[in-house]
């Protein structure tokens, strides 16, 4: 891959806290190229994240940034978009942050359908806390805490998203930067809540789901896959032997929350204070 310069690159020498060989590096490139190719102005872009290794991604992207609390990227991102819908809002976080700590927000963000893009670095393990099971860890994987192997059924983000009629549902593999970049571009360009779950090998703590494992266990959806078929998408999302990659489902019909609320294009920071007449009306129409 040639190292094309994007407007989102941080200055040379910026310290990156990820391990050598981590899938995060490739994912970062894919995100920056996608943003660049979409022609997004970094002044109007807000990268939002929670906590974890994946959640450090906005640190390495030259744009506005809200790196909030563990699990809380979605509430913050939705607040930002509702306050100024002219901004492009992209959430980048890990599987633990999004599906564990932030699980309830994930459900309700899909229900709202605000125009934000959610990119989940899914490495099926907790990296920053040193190798415990994550919500997407596969059963029987052993960890320092799950010594006899993971006993919980893995969280399947795609089936959950489809169950709630998320209007854009996709999965990618960080090892394939070009295809991942293409999927991310579609997700950001989509008007509505878009979720891209991205398989990403953790070279230090996940000895099961390695680069090789992902190559062997994934397959791209066929060219003729019908993205409008929600039931079909669900069938593909529960497939286990070969995990499909690509855009599973698109639904252009769901109305945006911000449209339903009647939110206009004037950002809230430009709201005008009440004039005297409006104030008197407010006081006098109280009870």
């Amino acid at each position: 891959m040639n190292k094309t310069v994007t407007p989102f690159d941080m200055p040379d020498g910026t310290d990156v806290a990820w391990c050598p060989g981590c899938g995060n590096h490739m994912l970062l490139s894919a995100v920056k190229f996608a943003l660049h190719e979409l022609g997004i102005d970094r002044k109007n872009l807000v990268m939002v994240s929670g906590i974890g290794q994946a959640a450090k991604a906005p640190q390495y992207i030259k744009a506005n940034m809200f790196n909030g609390l563990h699990g809380r990227s979605l509430p913050a991102a939705q607040g930002i978009k509702l306050a100024n819908r002219n901004l492009v809002v992209v959430v980048e976080s890990g599987d633990g942050d999004m599906y564990g700590e932030g699980g309830n927000h994930f459900l309700h963000a899909i229900r709202r359908n605000i125009d934000i893009t959610v990119i989940v670095h899914d490495n099926m393990v907790y990296g920053l806390t040193k190798g415990q099971a994550s919500p997407t860890s596969q059963r029987s994987m052993t960890t320092p805490i799950q010594e006899s192997g993971v006993m919980l059924e893995p969280f399947n983000p795609l089936t959950v998203a489809l169950a709630l009629n998320a209007p854009f549902v996709a999965r990618a593999y960080a090892g394939d930067v070009e295809r991942t970049q293409e999927i991310i571009k579609q997700a950001i360009a989509f008007k509505g809540f878009s979720i891209v779950d991205i398989f990403q090998p953790c070279v230090v703590f996940n000895k099961v789901n390695t680069y090789q494992w992902f190559r062997e266990h994934t397959v791209y959806l066929p060219e003729n896959h019908n993205v409008g078929d929600r039931t079909g998408a669900f069938g593909l999302a529960i497939q286990q032997d070969k995990l499909p990659l690509g855009v599973f489902y698109r639904n252009e019909q769901r109305e945006l929350y911000e449209d339903q609320m009647g939110i206009g294009t004037i950002p809230l920071y430009q709201s005008n204070p009440l004039d005297e007449e409006a104030f008197q009306k407010l006081v006098n129409n109280s009870l």
Partner: protein, 566 residues
């Protein structure tokens, strides 16, 4: 003959006690009286026993009294529920056949059900009761019928007409009863009859928020904090407010902070239990230096506690919420005017200092209704404290007072980068101990001017001859004012705090050579402890109550009389 009347209306949930209260408050206010009402109710949707107290007073009084002059019983279990408040002087308006062996010489057989059925349905009993009151006091019937016609117009002419029939039946019964039993009001109308509006605390809070330019609220319903959410939800279109019902309180405050980061003027509303969940957001606000206004409508805890009752038990919670050291301010209004003013101040202060600012109220304050002179409602200038950024913008640039100019994404050429990790001027994560030291200092530096400009507490009465200062905060202002008035002893003066943190430096001189009493609705004296800690003064007496009820005027009078003999 009554010179200061306390009426209590009691019924099951769903019997329309609130309709009576609403009607009487409107009509009595329209006629010109000073009115006040407070409410106590059970955490259930139907049944039980709920009461509303309405006071008519010559001097404006906004406090709960234990005494009941007239009791209107819509249900039979009233006497048991109110046994501690009923005296030999309490007149009870009730239906004899329903009351059974509770009937006494103080009871007046009032055919509420009979008249209601005559009007069309037993459901009109509440309107009959309101009619009885207005008939007894000779308030022009037209005021009442006009109110009913306005109120019930949306439900159709037939409903409005039946209400008027019920009102008239009650009214003539009341007029006749007053003549027979020699009941009358000896309360003069306030001079000039100024144009006043009726308001409860939640409404005042909402008015303050809208006036302050509030344009974003994300919250999860929880009594008694929900009133503000409802108020703003009813005004989204008219005033351009984004109202989002969050999936939980954690989402609420994080969404509020996201919106605020993008330039919204954001508030969250909740009660203590919900606020427990918001604490991480308070800490985040401290770290990313992003304004947020937090309203806590207090109710008795711990845990679910008494969901519909009142307490001032969350001061320590607000004071210490969120891990780490950072700056905050806490307001504690005690009157409608103070609620409207401190709410506006809270928004401006949050933006100016880029900190979380709390407004602590409680069920009693939020749900009590009183009148306020519309022309006297104070309006503060909405101050944004935002800059248009340039390309070299740094969100956390070091400045003399620790406050960096605040930009928002999309406004100007710069990038706005905030991080919950310790960060440098650009919001980049750092583990430099030197940078950490400077950032800690930066976040705390602003405390100095925040303290210097804190609200000065209000003196009640005169300090000149006062030996003892009785200190209140939040909802107890009016009850303290009235109690001190009743006592009329110059050795006592009151001090009311509408800001409890940081405390105005003037209190040191104010407290000099005085004995200090603190009254508050909690079990341990949280504010008393804070005052001791901040001033080094010991508190001679804590007057505390944590039953879930507000202080009554009588109770405070008793407590102060008792202390006088100590």
């Amino acid at each position: 003959m009554y010179q200061d009347l306390s009426m209590v209306f009691c019924g099951e949930a769903g019997q329309g006690v609130q309709t009576i209260t609403g009607a009487l408050l409107h009509v009595l206010k329209k006629y010109g009286y000073n009115v006040f009402s407070c409410i106590e109710y059970m955490s259930r949707i139907r049944g039980g026993c709920n009461t509303t107290e309405i006071r008519i007073t010559e001097k404006k009084r906004d406090a709960y009294v234990r005494r009941i002059d007239m009791l209107f019983a819509l249900t039979h279990n009233v006497v048991e529920h109110l046994k501690d408040r009923i005296s030999s002087k309490t007149l009870i308006f009730a239906e004899k056949e329903k009351f059974g062996d509770q009937w006494s010489d103080n009871c007046i057989d009032t055919p509420l059900t009979k008249f209601a059925v005559e009007a069309g349905s037993v459901g009109f009993s509440n309107i009959v009761a309101a009619g009885v009151v207005l008939g007894m006091f000779g308030i022009p019937l037209e005021l009442f019928t006009a109110y009913l016609q306005g109120k019930f117009a949306v439900k159709g002419e037939e409903i409005a007409r039946k209400n008027v029939i019920a009102a008239k039946l009650g009214y003539s019964f009341g007029r006749d009863t007053a003549a027979t039993a020699n009941i009358s009001l000896q309360i003069s109308l306030p001079a000039g009859r100024p144009e006043r509006v009726l308001m409860d605390g939640s409404t005042a809070l909402g008015i303050g928020a809208v006036a302050a330019g509030c344009n974003f609220i994300s919250s999860y319903p929880m009594s008694p904090g929900t009133g503000l959410l409802t108020f703003l939800a009813a005004r989204t279109k008219e005033y351009g407010i984004v109202v989002d019902q969050a999936e939980d309180e954690i989402a609420a405050i994080n969404a509020g902070l996201g919106a605020s980061y993008a330039g919204a003027r954001a508030i969250v509303t909740t009660s203590g239990g919900g606020f427990d969940l918001m604490q991480e957001g308070v800490s985040l606000a401290g770290m990313i230096e992003t304004p947020i206004v937090i309203h806590i409508g207090q109710r008795p805890g711990p845990a679910t506690g008494l969901p519909t009752r009142t307490e001032q038990g969350d001061l320590n919670l607000a004071l210490h919420a969120g891990h780490g050291d950072f700056t905050r301010a806490i307001f504690s209004p005690g009157t409608l005017a103070e609620i409207i003013d401190t709410t506006q101040q809270a928004f401006n202060l949050a933006q100016q200092y880029q900190i979380p600012v709390f407004i602590l109220t409680d069920q009693y304050l939020l749900e009590s209704v009183s009148t306020i002179d519309a022309s006297s409602v104070k309006r503060r200038t909405v101050e944004a404290f935002l800059i248009k950024t340039t390309e070299t913008y740094q969100r956390y640039a070091f400045t003399d007072d620790g406050i960096s100019p605040r930009g928002v994404p999309g406004y100007g050429e710069g990038l706005v980068r905030v991080d919950s990790d310790e960060h440098d001027e650009n919001g980049l994560i750092t583990e430099s101990f030197e940078m950490r030291r400077r950032m800690v200092e930066k976040r705390l530096k602003r405390m100095h001017s925040l303290r210097e400009t804190a609200r000065v507490p209000t003196v009640i009465g005169s300090l000149v001859q006062a030996e003892t200062l009785v200190i209140s905060w939040g909802s107890n202002r009016s009850v303290l004012e009235e109690a001190l008035d009743v006592i009329g002893n110059k050795a006592f003066a009151g001090i009311h705090f509408s800001q409890v943190f940081p405390l105005s430096p003037v209190i040191n001189s104010l407290f000099e050579n005085k004995r200090l009493f603190v009254m508050e609705n909690n079990a341990t004296g949280q504010f008393a402890d804070l005052l001791s800690f901040e001033t080094g003064r010991s508190i001679s007496r804590k007057i505390l109550k944590a039953t879930g009820e507000p202080f009554s005027v009588e109770e405070v009078v008793d407590a102060l009389h008792h202390s006088d003999h100590e």
